[in-house]
């Protein structure tokens, strides 16, 4: 794989660096020596090395130098502890085999559906490569992730401690799914707030119960949007739920043009309405009002006339 060769160089550099001073590993099991010598006990230095990335790596030479002088007796044959010792990425395959073992052991446990399983943030591939210190192919890592997800689907109430611990090894630091935003509520003045963006516009909507008046940046709806289409767009969330005469809307919208502003208001209004009436969510979703359109203008590139247009080809 030609694309991966520079990465291979990087990894080689890392392993060189780590042989000098760094010995790090995060868990006891994988910190075991990579080989066993019958009749000889060997202590390896294990050392936790936290780098700037914020997570522990286990960069360690796959094969520490064997000092034959230390042996009291010359063994007839040195057997590596890991069966993957002679493969290209022994540590990764060790992890894989370990997970497979665990899965085989607990495969009979009841599982929950993927949606109900606790959401975990696994290592991303580059991070995991960093952790292991080996070049790992994307596809192989996907296989590992599949295993992890399967293990994670074991019913959380019945999940054995061993499984939980081994799954924890693969979670990237700073659980991004852990901190959920607090559910929006209507404030003490009865206002719900919603934000929305579309194209280059962003809108903030304050929604109160009322009788169907709309102010956009202090102007009436007609003054803000001379085009009927835009007016309809902006109030679509209330229109499709037949609540246009039950709420008052106060909007601050900036940036972009009229269409963008109108549809930014659509989204913001839909979200604000969901704060008032959460049960409207399926209706609003069907009406296409709380579906985010995250397309933005594509940037212009050097060498191009516009985002994609190339200069006209000239013969000379």
């Amino acid at each position: 794989m030609a694309r991966q060769s520079p990465r291979g160089v990087v990894h080689a550099m890392q392993s060189v660096r780590s042989t000098t001073s760094l010995r790090a590993f995060l868990s006891q099991r994988s910190a075991a020596p990579a080989y066993i010598i019958p009749g000889a006990s060997l202590s390896t230095r294990t050392q936790q090395w936290k780098n700037a990335r914020g997570y522990a790596t286990e960069v360690q030479p796959a094969a520490p130098e064997i000092d034959f002088a230390k042996f009291h007796t010359q063994p007839t044959r040195i057997i590596p502890r890991s069966p993957a010792y002679f493969s290209g990425s022994p540590k990764f395959i060790d992890h894989l085999l370990r997970l497979e073992d665990i899965l085989a052991k607990y495969v009979s446990l009841p599982t929950v559906s993927a949606a109900e399983a606790p959401r975990k943030a696994w290592f991303k591939l580059p991070q995991f490569r960093d952790v292991v210190g080996e070049p790992i192919a994307t596809k192989k890592y996907k296989g590992l992730l599949k295993l992890l997800q399967r293990l994670n689907r074991i019913d959380p109430n019945l999940m054995p401690k061993a499984v939980r611990l081994s799954l924890d090894d693969f979670i990237r630091p700073g659980n991004p799914y852990g901190n959920k935003p607090a559910p929006a509520t209507v404030d003490n003045l009865g206002r719900a707030r919603g934000k929305g963006k579309r194209k280059a516009s962003s809108a903030v909507v304050h929604l109160v119960e009322g009788n169907g008046e709309v102010l956009v940046n202090g102007k009436t709806l007609v003054e803000a949007f001379p085009r009927v289409h835009d007016r309809e767009s902006a109030t679509w969330a209330l229109r499709c739920t037949a609540r246009l005469d039950k709420y008052n809307v106060w909007v601050a919208v900036r940036g972009g043009g009229t269409t963008g502003q109108a549809e930014a208001i659509t989204l913001a209004l839909g979200r604000a309405l969901m704060v008032h009436e959460p049960a409207l969510k399926p209706t609003l979703r069907k009406a296409g009002v709380i579906t985010v359109d995250r397309r933005r203008v594509e940037r212009k590139k050097p060498g191009h006339v516009k985002a994609r247009k190339m200069p006209t080809w000239v013969k000379r």
Partner: protein
């Protein structure tokens, strides 16, 4: 396929045998010491064919491909005939024979125009009145008349109030003969011009005399002739054609009334006018001879505002009817016109006698009311074609404050920004003190907003009953349209009513 070798490279590659070389007389020879082979240059005397140029673009020429643009297909080269596009733009269609006749639709009559039970209903304009309304140019092209069977207007709150006002002025009560002066403002499409139309329609039903200026801009945009009024007043200018057309409008619209009234005063400026001739003939006189139109207009105005005849001519005098004066697009009169003096200085709109006359009506009369026989002055601003004039805006605020009883010396009275270069003549035109005559109302500003939900519902039902709208008109639906129309702005409601999104069920 185009060869990727360039011509000069090929010539360089070529081994030129001596025999093939062109004769030395035809080819410019290189210097004798030069070792490279002599290149073949095309004979400069031979003209190149166009399009076969060798080499790229010259120094400092653009390098992008020069593509020939296709010429547009001929056949549309001739523009449409002169005036066709304007005629299309100004065309007023008052009827759509495809629309259904609305059953039980009531007409605008003396009874219906004050009937508050009909509020929110659409009243049809009586057919004979349509000619009069067309004559005074009450209809404008984009008011949505063209999709209904017959023209009709919504009886909204403002209309009912106006109807009662007109009823009182024409009636026998104590309000008889009062003069009402209003400046009508409001947001875009809120129905100011249609309000004027309703006023005219009511005035016609009440047998008033109606003077209208349908487009104030036409008087200041230098499209009609003008000249100094007289030698004594070289700074005042008269527009004869515009005056003549005003007279002809008034004449056609008020023919029946004017034909019953007779000249009851002596008009020294008009030698041909005899006491006892009808006012219709008087007006005709001005239409036929534009040079005297201004004098005729003044005479006509004097006759119509007369409360009694001069001595000796009593037999010619019958009581004069009230007068309605409407002007649309007032802001155009508040700045320099497009006309120029002989010194090529711009002429202020207030120096045109026509404009000056109608603006002077806003001020209270000296001894008696400006409209002694009663009547209404309705001057509307426009928002579609509107110059932004700071002094005028402030003047309107001051008028509103004065009408609300705010003392002009009080701190809350709207003040001019001294740095904004205000136009003092504009402010002065609207300074109207408390009128001395009890019959005369104070100048006020009326702002027209959106219609209420009930009125909007009536309007939308009118669409549905005309067969133009195929949806169930219920309160919810109307409420939605009311909001989309920015709080019931009636022009926007009309747009929403005719809008088609989906095929009817």
């Amino acid at each position: 396929m185009v060869s990727s070798f360039c011509w000069s490279c090929l010539t360089r590659l070529r081994q030129t045998p001596r025999t093939v070389l062109p004769s030395p007389t035809a080819v410019p020879r290189g210097p004798a010491f030069h070792t490279s082979a002599v290149r073949f240059f095309p004979n400069p005397m031979m003209r190149k064919k166009p399009g076969q140029e060798l080499g790229g673009p010259k120094y400092r020429q653009s390098k992008s491909a020069r593509m020939k643009k296709k010429k547009p297909v001929d056949g549309k080269a001739r523009p449409p005939p002169v005036g066709e596009r304007k005629a299309l733009r100004k065309r007023i269609v008052l009827s759509n024979p495809n629309a259904l006749e609305v059953e039980g639709m009531q007409e605008l009559t003396e009874e219906t125009m004050v009937d508050s039970r009909l509020r929110g209903n659409v009243l049809a304009l009586p057919v004979p009145m349509l000619d009069q309304l067309r004559a005074v140019q009450a209809f404008k092209p984009k008011q949505g008349w063209s999709i209904f069977r017959r023209p009709g207007t919504v009886l909204r709150r403002e209309t009912l109030e106006m109807g009662r006002l007109f009823d009182n002025i024409s009636g026998v009560g104590e309000d008889k003969g009062t003069a009402v002066k209003k400046i009508i403002t409001g947001s875009r499409k809120s129905g100011k011009s249609v309000h004027l139309l309703q006023a005219m329609a009511m005035a016609f039903t009440k047998k008033w005399v109606v003077f209208t200026v349908p487009e104030a801009q036409d008087l200041v945009s230098a499209t009609t002739g003008y000249g100094p009024l007289s030698d004594e007043n070289p700074n005042l200018y008269v527009q004869n054609e515009a005056t003549a057309s005003l007279l002809s409008r008034t004449l056609i619209a008020n023919k029946t009334i004017l034909s019953k009234l007779q000249v009851s005063r002596i008009h020294p400026a008009l030698s041909a006018v005899q006491p006892g001739m009808t006012l219709e003939n008087l007006a005709k006189f001005g239409v036929q001879d534009p040079a005297s139109s201004w004098a005729v207009f003044q005479a006509l105005w004097a006759e119509l505002t007369a409360t009694s005849a001069t001595t000796g001519l009593e037999k010619n005098f019958t009581p004069r009817p009230p007068i309605l004066v409407t002007v649309d697009g007032l802001a155009h009169w508040m700045r320099n016109s497009e006309y120029r003096t002989t010194e090529f200085e711009p002429i202020h709109a207030h120096d045109l006698v026509f404009v000056r006359h109608f603006l002077s009506l806003l001020k209270p009369g000296k001894d008696e009311s400006t409209l002694p026989n009663g009547g209404a002055l309705l001057y509307a601003t426009s928002t579609s074609n509107n110059p932004s004039i700071y002094s005028f805006e402030v003047a309107l605020k001051q008028v509103a404050a004065r009408h609300a009883g705010v003392d002009p010396s009080a701190p809350e009275f709207p003040k001019l920004d001294p740095y904004s270069n205000p136009d003092s003549r504009v402010l002065e035109a609207f300074i109207s003190t408390k009128p001395t005559s009890a019959q005369e109302g104070m100048l006020e500003v009326q702002t027209i907003g959106g219609v209420s939900r009930d009125e909007a519902r009536g309007f939308m039902e009118y669409f549905a009953r005309s067969g133009l709208l195929r949806e169930t008109v219920n309160d919810e639906w109307v409420g939605e349209k009311w909001t989309l129309a920015g709080g019931g702005v009636i022009g926007e409601l009309e747009r929403l009513g005719r809008r088609l999104r989906v095929a009817a069920a």
